[in-house]
């Protein structure tokens, strides 16, 4: 069931009109389900989720993602987008929709509200004041900024101010090296209750779990201190432009930071497609090489393989690789060239809905992410 109500008037949209329409929506749904002899509609809400998206063409995609996300996280959704200036139309527009689905048990209809708000470019600054009174009280507020992060913009700043958690995707940063450093600085300035997450970091979770998994085995843990080389392979839209995907930088910094490696030199390009970071641990030098290749069509962007090479007799390689179709991750340990038993498991964070759903499971700040960012800022040229 999906009902749509439109709230619009020439004087502009106001909070009361939207609230009235939300009430109507529920009454209408209760009546329909009663008349059709269905189970009563349940209204469940565990958080407020605001999504900023740059235009109408992307708003449809966001709606679809939300329909999926709300099956796991019933929320009041706000989709916020700018529209073109048009003197003949009101500057603000709002649409109220119900997103309904069957509960996990299968026989309850669970519904959530989605409020889409558009503002003409000139009126965009009015958006936060419209959203603020519509937030469901006491529940956390999450902002998903589904656009190039613009840390300087007024709208971004004001929406961050009313949020408990802010989700961005650093893969959208035109220059990840600069952008990540800016983000690290921003996190430092914000009050401590605002948590930041990054979908690029979330995409790394299964990789990080697998890297950690190798060293749960006591025999292999001994090799952590003997790592000499790390090779990270990734695909990238802009591989020609000497730009490093943020995922690769983040996992490199996580690894180096956790293992307390000290920088030996500033990161630099080594040839056209290889970015090199050099460290030292105890007395052993370590090189991290990030190799980028152009992606075929953008759909295979991201990390493809991670190889950790440890000295010793015999030498050991710990390898994680993504299958060609992007569906699985595979882990292998090679001792003196022989492969030991590894694991294959499906990646459960391949699309936006899955990523966002996972992000919404966490509420606090992610210390590891912040540490990785801070580490990166500290080694920049």
């Amino acid at each position: 069931m999906e009902l749509k109500n439109q709230v619009q008037s020439s004087t502009g949209v106001n909070v009361y009109a939207i609230e009235r329409d939300l009430r109507h929506l529920w009454e209408q749904m209760a009546e329909t389900s009663q008349a059709e002899g269905q189970e009563p509609v349940m209204r469940v809400c565990v958080l407020n989720l605001m999504v900023y998206t740059p235009g109408e063409h992307t708003a449809g995609e966001v709606s679809q993602v939300m329909a999926e996300v709300t099956t796991q996280h019933p929320s009041r959704i706000f989709i916020i987008l700018p529209s073109k200036n048009d003197a003949s139309a009101p500057a603000l527009g709002a649409w109220v929709t119900a997103l309904c689905h069957l509960s996990a048990g299968g026989h309850k209809q669970v519904c959530c509200e989605q409020i889409m708000i558009t503002a003409e470019e000139d009126a965009i600054y009015r958006l936060p004041s419209l959203v603020r009174p519509l937030l469901v009280p006491d529940l956390p507020v999450v902002l998903w900024w589904r656009d190039v992060p613009s840390f300087e913009s007024r709208l971004f700043g004001e929406l961050v101010d009313i949020s408990d958690r802010v989700i961005i995707d650093s893969a959208m940063l035109p220059n990840p090296e600069e952008g990540l450093a800016e983000l690290a600085a921003l996190i430092n300035q914000r009050p401590q209750w605002t948590a930041f997450s990054d979908l690029s970091w979330s995409r790394l979770t299964p990789w990080r779990v697998s890297v950690a998994g190798f060293f749960d085995v006591p025999d292999w843990r001994a090799r952590l201190g003997r790592l000499s080389r790390v090779e990270i392979e990734c695909r990238h839209d802009q591989a020609d432009r000497r730009s490093i995907p943020s995922e690769a930088l983040l996992i490199a910094c996580w690894l180096a930071g956790r293992l307390k490696w000290r920088p030996r030199s500033k990161p630099r390009w080594n040839g056209k497609h290889t970015y090199q970071l050099e460290f030292v641990s105890e007395n052993l030098p370590i090189t991290i090489q990030i190799k980028t290749t152009p992606s075929t069509d953008g759909s295979d962007n991201g990390l493809h393989a991670l190889r950790l090479i440890a000295e010793g007799k015999p030498s050991a390689q710990f390898v994680i690789s993504r299958s060609g179709d992007g569906v699985y991750l595979r882990t292998d340990v090679e001792l003196a060239g022989t492969r030991l038993a590894g694991n294959v498991f499906p990646l459960d964070n391949r699309d936006e809905a899955q990523l966002i759903s996972k992000e919404l499971e966490i509420l606090g700040r992610d210390a590891l992410y912040e540490q990785a960012l801070a580490f990166f800022s500290s080694i920049l040229p």
């Binding site: 996990a104 299964p206 950690a212 749960d216 038993a341 694991n343």
Partner: protein, 513 residues
């Protein structure tokens, strides 16, 4: 004990599981049986698909049925396909999981079997890097438990080679009475140390049972009223709509009390009534639960009829269909004395619960399948709305539903709109399924993973198991007496009239879940 070495992995910190499972071999005794197919292997596969098992994790199945590795893999693939609830099998994931599945036929009564098993395990250690870590899972008929444990000890399989760990999971039932549970405990502890032993009670693996502790101790509003001043009584119900199906042979020996109350419901009771722990550690939690069970007032043999009621279903209607009585079921004696319904009242002699009765009941062929805990609060002390017939004013109840539709609801009174004061009981409902669309893991997934990680919080400790038997023996002994009044309830009803009389004598009524 947890392996402190795992904490030293600097890359583990901050990840979803801070304590991971090390690679190990799970050895399943009874691998051709029903439980392996329906629960154990599907749970292990599901863990593998979530990347929760270490690389090299392996399973060695064993039973008398001759089979080779390939046949076992095929049988397990079918089983996972049929019973796993985490979605369809994924080819590549299955291949890597199945590469770690092995089968070796054994007769658990013969020592040679264990020598052969040891060789298989040593080979897997070499080839798959399982480092001598072993998790034995005893899922055979209970009559074989002693032999298996003794022979594991005699052949040295109770101690891991090369500094690995060895743990053993023992299926229920753990003994059939106090005497046999003590003997079994003694036999187990002659071979294994208590911290190697994981006595499974799959109820403890259920999310909602774990949630009882979260509800009580993570919310500030409940604990202050969680005592005799505010709570009138507690009802714990586990109702089944089915009969004994094809488990008649087992059930004849067990009965409702042994099958459900002595273990599962008593564990639930312990979660509801225990004192808070100061740290969330396996022994701290189990100490508190044991203390609670120790505080339950023993029922003297001559008082059994005051504290407990039994019943057996005769023919009737279940969901509109005519069904047989218990005595007509397959593998059941036509004169059977076995109870298919049991209810008991426990009093806990401590400061928090003095004089608050805990009513526990369980039965088969009741109107529906439901397990719940109902906390019934006292009435408001001063009845302000006297003109409202007080019969309509229900006291508040907090219901913790364990299955199906796990959730929590609170009943309270509210005024109906209108000029007059008409008060109605309304129900505020929270369902896990609707608020968190996420699948709750199967109890066996959680428990197997915990055992591999060395966390025994959700397993029953030896002292608690014996204490539970001690507490319930007088009832079981009294019920040895022939029950001339059986059958005494109609299939599809809420149990025998005696059970209603039993609770009504206290001025209370059973809830209709």
């Amino acid at each position: 004990m947890m392996d402190p070495g795992v904490f030293e992995n600097p890359l583990r910190e901050g990840l979803r599981l801070e304590l991971a499972a090390e690679p190990c071999v799970a050895v399943i005794f009874g691998a051709s049986g029903d439980l392996t197919k329906r629960k154990l292997v599907p749970a292990l596969y599901s863990l593998a698909a979530q990347n929760l098992l270490a690389g090299g994790f392996s399973v060695v199945g064993t039973a008398r049925t001759p089979m080779n590795d390939e046949a076992f893999r095929t049988a397990m693939r079918d089983a996972v396909h049929r019973y796993a609830d985490a979605g369809p099998i994924e080819g590549a994931v299955w291949e890597s999981f199945a590469a770690g599945l092995f089968y070796t036929p054994t007769d658990t009564k013969k020592p040679e079997s264990y020598k052969k098993l040891a060789e298989v395990l040593a080979k897997i250690d070499r080839e798959r890097g399982t480092a001598g870590n072993r998790l034995f899972y005893v899922s055979t008929p209970p009559s074989l438990y002693s032999d298996i444990i003794r022979l594991l000890g005699a052949t040295g399989l109770n101690r891991a080679p090369n500094g690995g760990w060895t743990r053993i999971i023992i299926e229920k039932p753990f003994g059939e009475d106090l005497q046999s549970a003590r003997v079994l405990n003694r036999e187990v502890l002659q071979v294994f140390a208590e911290d190697q032993v994981y006595r499974i009670d799959h109820y403890l693996g259920k999310e909602t049972v774990q949630n009882i502790m979260v509800l009580r101790f993570a919310n500030g509003i409940f604990e202050p009223i969680w005592n005799r001043r505010y709570i009138d009584h507690v009802q714990i119900t586990a109702a089944e709509s089915l009969g004994v199906e094809d488990r008649g042979g087992y059930y004849e020996q067990a009965g409702a009390f042994r099958d459900m109350i002595e273990n599962h419901l008593l564990q639930v009771l312990a979660h509801v009534a225990m004192e808070p722990v100061s740290v969330l550690d396996a022994n701290a939690v189990r100490d508190e639960k044991t203390k609670l069970v120790r505080a339950i007032r023993p029922i003297l043999p001559e008082e059994v009829s005051r504290y407990a009621v039994r019943g057996q279903y005769g023919e009737g209607l279940a969901g509109g269909e005519p069904v047989e009585g218990y005595r007509q079921e397959k593998n059941v004696s036509p004169e059977s004395n076995t109870e298919t319904y049991a209810a008991v009242k426990f009093i806990i002699d401590n400061w928090r619960w003095a004089e608050v009765p805990f009513y526990l009941r369980s039965g088969k062929r009741l109107p529906k399948r439901v397990t719940e805990v109902a906390i019934q609060f006292r009435r408001a002390p001063h009845l302000l709305f006297k003109h409202v017939a007080s019969g309509h004013l229900e006291p508040n109840a907090l219901i913790l539903r364990i299955q199906p539709d796990e959730g929590i609801s609170l009943n309270f009174s509210a005024k109906m709109p209108g000029q007059a004061i008409n008060i109605r009981t309304v129900r505020m409902d929270f369902q896990y399924g609707t608020s968190f669309g996420k699948r709750s893991p199967e109890a066996y997934e959680r428990l197997l993973l915990d055992a591999m990680r060395g966390d025994s919080t959700l397993f029953a400790r030896g002292d608690m198991v014996e204490m539970a038997w001690e507490l319930t023996m007088p009832i079981l002994e009294a019920w040895q007496q022939p029950a001339s009044h059986f059958p005494n309830y109609v299939a599809g009803s809420w149990g025998p009239k005696e059970a209603d009389d039993f609770i009504e004598r206290d001025g209370r009524r059973w809830r209709r879940p």
